[in-house]
């Protein structure tokens, strides 16, 4: 034993020191980047709070007159996000259940890689499909002049977050101990009762955490949304009408960052909106991690 240790130790320490230093450096760089981004956002959004404080929480957006109401954009982001979740959650949840019940390992793997491919398609491709087809279908279905509306954005987003949500919830369902299912079956429950009353509740916290993570993705999506949402800086009327054009924080940033001069109030308000976006995403991520831990500890 002694000789063993003597042989391994010196070798190990030299290599390990190198790796450890490399790993620590990587952590430091990551931390530095996060701090820099947050710091920049906070500092740059300062002028907006001072210079545009009166108009900030109104619904008017007129940079030429110094009026910067961000309510339509924030509302649009949340509305589109909720719409996408309302479409994606039921589909994703049940599809995850179905995939988890597939017995053949090969078929399961095929499904999973199909999902990963779907998740890997660049968002601009979804945007193009949205402009060329989805918005036209939507316009036809609801007899509208244009399909560049909040509903189209929600539809495209739901397709975009589906793979993430589906594969995470499928993981969640697969990690429910087999004993749960076997016991429930032994009690003579129907198949659907087993799934709905035993498996789903057991996996619920992890599924909820998957949903929150996908929400984060939905909030941050820019290109696809920008192309189909219509870019109207106005609250829909009536308020929850998905058939009117709207604007999200991301589509606003995408359209106007290039037009605003660095350091101007206009620019600063745009930064403030991205700060709100980042804060929302961080909040969702933390909440999702909490839920996941809760699920794991049960």
């Amino acid at each position: 034993m002694m000789t063993d240790a003597a042989v391994i130790m010196p070798k190990r320490s030299v290599k390990f020191d190198g790796i450890r230093a490399y790993a620590r450096l990587s952590i430091l760089i990551t931390l530095l980047i996060i701090t820099l981004i947050l710091g920049t956002l906070i500092i740059q959004s300062g002028p907006a709070i001072f210079a545009a404080s009166e108009s900030l929480f109104t619904t008017n957006w007129k940079p030429s007159e110094g009026v910067y109401g961000i309510v339509p954009m924030v509302f649009g982001s949340l509305f589109v996000m909720l719409l996408a979740m309302a479409i994606a959650l039921p589909i994703g949840g049940f599809a995850a259940l179905a995939i988890s019940r597939i017995k053949s390992l090969r078929a399961k793997r095929a499904w999973r890689s199909a999902l990963e491919i779907l998740a890997g398609i660049p968002s601009i491709v979804y945007g193009l499909i949205g402009v060329a087809y989805v918005s036209l279908w939507v316009a036809g279905a609801f007899d509208l002049q244009s399909g560049r509306i909040i509903l189209s954005a929600g539809l495209i987003l739901s397709v975009m977050i589906l793979p993430t949500f589906l594969s995470l919830s499928e993981d969640a369902i697969s990690t429910v101990p087999a004993a749960f299912r076997e016991n429930a079956q032994a009690l003579g429950l129907h198949d659907y009762e087993v799934e709905l009353n035993v498996i789903l509740p057991a996996a619920a916290p992890a599924i909820a955490s998957a949903a929150l993570l996908s929400l984060g993705r939905a909030l941050g999506e820019t290109m696809a949304v920008m192309l189909v949402i219509g870019s109207l800086d106005r609250l829909p009327s009536p308020l929850f009408n998905p058939l009117s054009s709207g604007q999200t924080i991301t589509s606003k940033l995408g359209r106007e960052v290039g037009e605003s001069a660095f350091g101007s109030t206009h620019f600063s308000v745009l930064v403030l909106m991205s700060l709100i976006l980042v804060a929302l995403t961080i909040g969702l991520t933390i909440l999702s991690q909490r839920l996941f831990k809760q699920g794991a500890s049960r």
Binding site: D4, I8, R12, K15, F16, G18, I19, Y22, K62, P63, S64, E65, V131, S135, L136, A139, Q145, S146, G147, R148, G230, S231, L232, D233, S245, R255, E256, G258, E259, S260, A261, F262, G263, S264
Partner: protein, 298 residues
């Protein structure tokens, strides 16, 4: 024994990862860095032109033929008039393209810089409608009627002698040169609010697509972008004459909604950029303005 066997194994895989990184990524990193450094030092300067999508077709044709004859490499980017000015002012581009003048507000943001505006061509902005509306008999409108449509006071084509469908009003981003020219003449204020707008889009391409996809839309489009599916309306003047948006009526000065297509440069322009500007203004360079459907300045 198992734990002792396990540790060296894991260490082995870690160090093999590190070796992999060292072997492949570090050399790659150095190659990339050295290429960038070298190209920054020695390569002939690449000119960058950026801005209005209206000016873009003419400049990009000119750039193509100029690069062929002179060997000067030129990148032409779209982004809109406002973006073109900002990039020029912030030093991100050598030449800006603008389909409007620099505003006082824009100049005020960069008090230390001087900007020169040079007209390279002339263009007209036509009120454009979906071909269905044009074919149904709405082929000319007074400026007042167009203004009422944009203010949201006229809502149905039947009020203008067309079919009984709601008017779908397409507006453009506030910083767009096309919009400012159009609003200046039609509403009397280049930054006028369009309360009747149903959709806001960014570039001429987007406008063209939106007009084509709808069957009851009105928008504003540079005359170079009019086609079979997107028809330009004639403007009815106060004495009742109908002026069609044609090159001839723009040249003669009869068509009211006209503007200069500008390139803007800074006082500290580089010699290479100056040579390209001179080329665009030369007789040869001006043929590209004509080829793009605009009116040359000489």
């Amino acid at each position: 024994m198992t734990s002792q066997n396990g540790t060296p194994n894991r260490e082995g895989s870690l160090s093999s990862i590190l070796r992999f990184i060292l072997r492949f990524f570090l050399p790659l990193f150095f190659v990339v860095v050295s290429t960038l450094t070298l190209s920054a030092c020695s390569a002939p300067e690449r000119l960058s032109v950026s801005g209005s999508t209206t000016v873009l077709p003419a400049v990009s044709r000119a750039a193509e033929s100029y690069s062929e004859s002179s060997g000067q490499r030129i990148t032409v980017n779209a982004g809109g008039s406002g973006s073109g000015f900002n990039q020029l002012a912030e030093g991100q581009t050598d030449i800006g393209m603008m389909s409007r003048d620099i505003t006082k507000g824009e100049r005020a943001q960069f008090p230390k810089l001087t900007f020169n505006t040079l007209a390279v061509g002339r263009d007209a902005v036509a009120p454009a409608v979906s071909s269905e509306i044009y074919d149904a008999g709405v082929t000319a409108l007074t400026l007042d009627k167009i203004a009422e449509i944009y203010r949201g006071e006229i809502k149905n084509w039947s009020e203008l002698g067309g079919p009984d469908v709601d008017i779908f009003v397409i507006d453009k981003e506030a910083s767009s040169g096309t919009r400012q020219t159009f609003m200046e003449v039609v509403m009397g204020n280049s930054k006028a609010d369009a309360a009747g707008a149903d959709l806001v889009i960014g570039s001429n391409n987007e406008e063209q697509t939106a007009l084509t996809q709808s069957n009851a839309a009105i928008g504003m489009l540079s005359i170079a972008w009019l086609n079979e599916d997107v028809k330009g309306l004639s403007v009815i003047t106060e004495n009742g004459a109908r002026i069609a948006p044609t090159l001839a009526s723009v040249k003669s000065g009869q068509f009211p909604i006209v503007r200069d297509l500008n390139i803007v440069v800074r006082g500290d322009i580089s010699p290479a950029a100056q040579r390209f500007v001179d080329y665009i203004l030369s007789e040869d360079g001006q043929t590209h303005v004509t080829a793009s459907g605009y009116i040359p300045v000489r």
